[in-house]
Symmetry: C2
């Protein structure tokens, strides 16, 4: 253990040193690295799948549940998909090197900003071994060096994948040490990593709420983490009912297990009697369980085919991540805004309305990463927003908010071209 | 104390609630608040100066040194200056509300970003009471609510100034509670503030290294702090000697006590014998003490009028904040880059050269907030860079780097205009 901590210190130094070289690596070298990784993932399938089988059997023996086992499992076709994803990142424009906000000051200084990588990104993640490749390729493309620490349960798979990434990247001309992988699964090493603010510029946790909270509480460097998504859709009295049914259905049902799915439906009292029976009937066909406040229950209870429950206090502000929705009837836009202010998590919020002033008030007054008029919150996604690859979705306000693409893995430096200027 | 902690919780809730209203306050109301503050600072001079005298006399009696006493002191003319600074912020463009990166996706969704305030900014600062007004006006102009906690030694002055700010802002239509001031000087309250991540979006510490480190270590929310500035100027063999003398002189002497002043002069061996005697003679006239490595010492020691000392290891990477400079002779641009990589603090670095390739390598390879060619590092400043007011200078990479203006006190939200779109 002691020697592992020492080894970690050495890895920290090495990755920091490599990061300075990474910062001005050419796009050509970075893309060649990604192509090499994709090639090697295919060429070295046997080796990777063998390592994955060790993890899988151990996990199976330890009684891991089926869903988790499925996340852990790699297969030939899953490796094909991972390799395709790597090539897709190679196709994206290189964010590094862009010069912007350039101008000439009255004293003749030419001053502007140049986009640069953040430096060293630490990734701490769980179960799915594809994250090893996913995060590595996003970091490489954006010029960042990386320190990877995957979960204990996938250690053989992650180790095999990291080896492929390291060798393929080095062959392309990426500096030695730019991709570090921590083989020791001891929790004490995670604490040590979270204390390495001299070597790591940013930590990205990927996994469940437990992991994310632990990282946020213990990291000494900045953390970029997706928060929970408690998403509201508010159907105003001025809503087009057909749109409102289609959007609420899509937001709840299209993929209920993700952070941008609908959790609470807020409905204006003036439209509730016409609207709620229609959306509830559609939701019922998809198996949605509805937690209704008193007024919603009064409207819906006559339909015996619906899965209804009276709402409890805990339903408001809850991320269901399943086919459950809370329903509340409100008296005004103001009441809806207030509910969202208190119960929202700042992720994605939508209004359905045909009134211009109502739409604009909602857009202005709701404080969330993504605010929608007449569209499904399910669109909150880097791919859907046209960012290409997605690192995650941020609900924090500093640095970047909402879907995070390659550009959000960069910073800038001021560059100043002078001709002998001194400050008067 | 217990009731103060409870009071703090109430203030946290109030400031958070006010921040939602602040987010869409009109520019007109915000500017009116700033004009009111400027007016009241002048109209209520007696009251403010009386409070300041209480602090001053207590500080004097407790044996505070002259420099600190001077920082603490307010006078009629200093209040005039503070009021003028407030009016200057009112003149700056409002960063909030800007819509940018707007585009239409293939499915017809119109999507873009809208600039919004960060929310609640906590300011923890020491001694200079003008910070109370300074930070308040910058936050108000950028639409942020604020929680202020000044130093114990200026408690009466800060309290009087905060009262002026609060009353002037409220009279203009700023929501009640948007400016909170913590009267209790107990250190336990600072710890409590640093734990209030539900209410405070960002902490800005202003003061010495002790305060800044304490805040960075204990804050549970993001911190925006200026780091130390260890600034190098590298004089390449291709330098124009006249420019190199003028720039190094300006960078060291024009204001030696600040973070963007020169600390270490690196000189290429090929030019050292011609250059060093000239710059050293100029520096000597201004009283600069020079800590020389062996080669620099050999070149300079014959001039008895210079204040020379042999350099020690601690001189490299030291922020002198005084009329002291370290001098090192290097064999190459590579050696200079390596020295800066190891000893720089990522603040401001400069090269003096007439060779294009050398300039471009320095710009590309140095990892710092501001990288200069042929200009003095003293320009690193929000005012000099044309940002108007300056909140500080950031040496971190996340969110914002270098001089921080009003825009750096904002975030954005994604706004999406739909017409019924659902995700396929």
């Amino acid at each position: 253990m002691k020697s592992d901590l020492k080894g970690l210190e050495a890895k920290g130094k090495a990755v920091k040193a490599a990061s300075y070289r990474m910062a001005y690596l050419s796009t050509e070298v970075k893309n060649r690295a990604l192509h090499n990784i994709a090639d090697d993932l295919l060429a070295r399938k046997d080796e990777i799948l063998e390592a994955n089988q060790i993890d899988y059997k151990e996990a199976e023996a330890s009684g891991m549940n089926a869903a988790m086992l499925d996340r852990l499992l790699l297969s030939s076709s899953r490796l094909d998909t991972i390799a395709q994803d790597v090539l897709a990142v190679a196709e994206l424009p290189d964010p590094v090197g862009e010069v912007f906000d350039m101008r000439t000051l009255p004293n003749g200084l030419q001053i502007g900003k140049k986009r640069v990588p953040l430096g060293v990104i630490g990734a701490i993640y769980e179960s799915r071994p594809n994250v090893t490749v996913d995060i590595s390729t996003l970091c490489l493309k954006s010029g960042n060096a990386i320190m990877l620490r995957g979960g204990k349960e996938a250690i053989h798979s992650n180790s095999a994948l990291a080896k492929v990434v390291q060798e393929a990247a080095t062959r392309a001309g990426v500096p030695d040490g730019a991709v570090q992988f921590i083989e020791n699964a001891d929790r004490a090493l995670v604490d040590k990593i979270l204390g390495m603010r001299d070597y790591i510029d940013l930590i990205i946790p990927r996994g469940g709420a437990g992991l994310i909270n632990m990282v946020n509480e213990n990291a000494t460097m900045p953390v970029l983490s997706g928060g929970i998504g408690v998403c509201h859709t508010y159907v105003d009295k001025s809503a087009d009912i057909e749109k409102a049914v289609a959007i609420a259905f899509n937001a709840k049902v299209q993929r209920p297990t993700v952070c941008n799915a609908l959790d609470t439906l807020l409905v204006h009292d003036d439209i509730a009697e016409r609207y709620l029976p229609l959306v509830a009937a559609e939701w019922a066909k998809a198996g949605v369980e509805m937690h209704c406040d008193k007024r919603a229950m009064t409207i819906l209870k006559s339909n015996a085919s619906l899965k209804l429950m009276p709402s409890v206090d805990e339903d408001w502000g809850k991320e269901f991540l399943s086919l459950v929705a809370a329903i509340k009837v409100v008296d005004s836009l103001d009441e809806a805004l207030e509910h969202i202010e208190h119960c929202g998590s700042g992720h994605s919020e939508a209004i359905i309305t045909e009134e211009y002033q109502v739409a604009m008030r909602f857009l202005n007054e709701v404080d969330a990463a993504c605010v929608y008029v007449n569209a499904s919150t399910r669109f909150t996604d880097g791919g859907q927003f046209g960012l290409g690859a997605e690192v995650g979705i941020s609900t924090q306000k500093l640095h970047a908010r909402g879907p995070l693409g390659l550009k959000e893995l960069t910073s800038y430096k001021w560059i100043i071209f002078g001709s002998g200027q001194v400050r008067p």
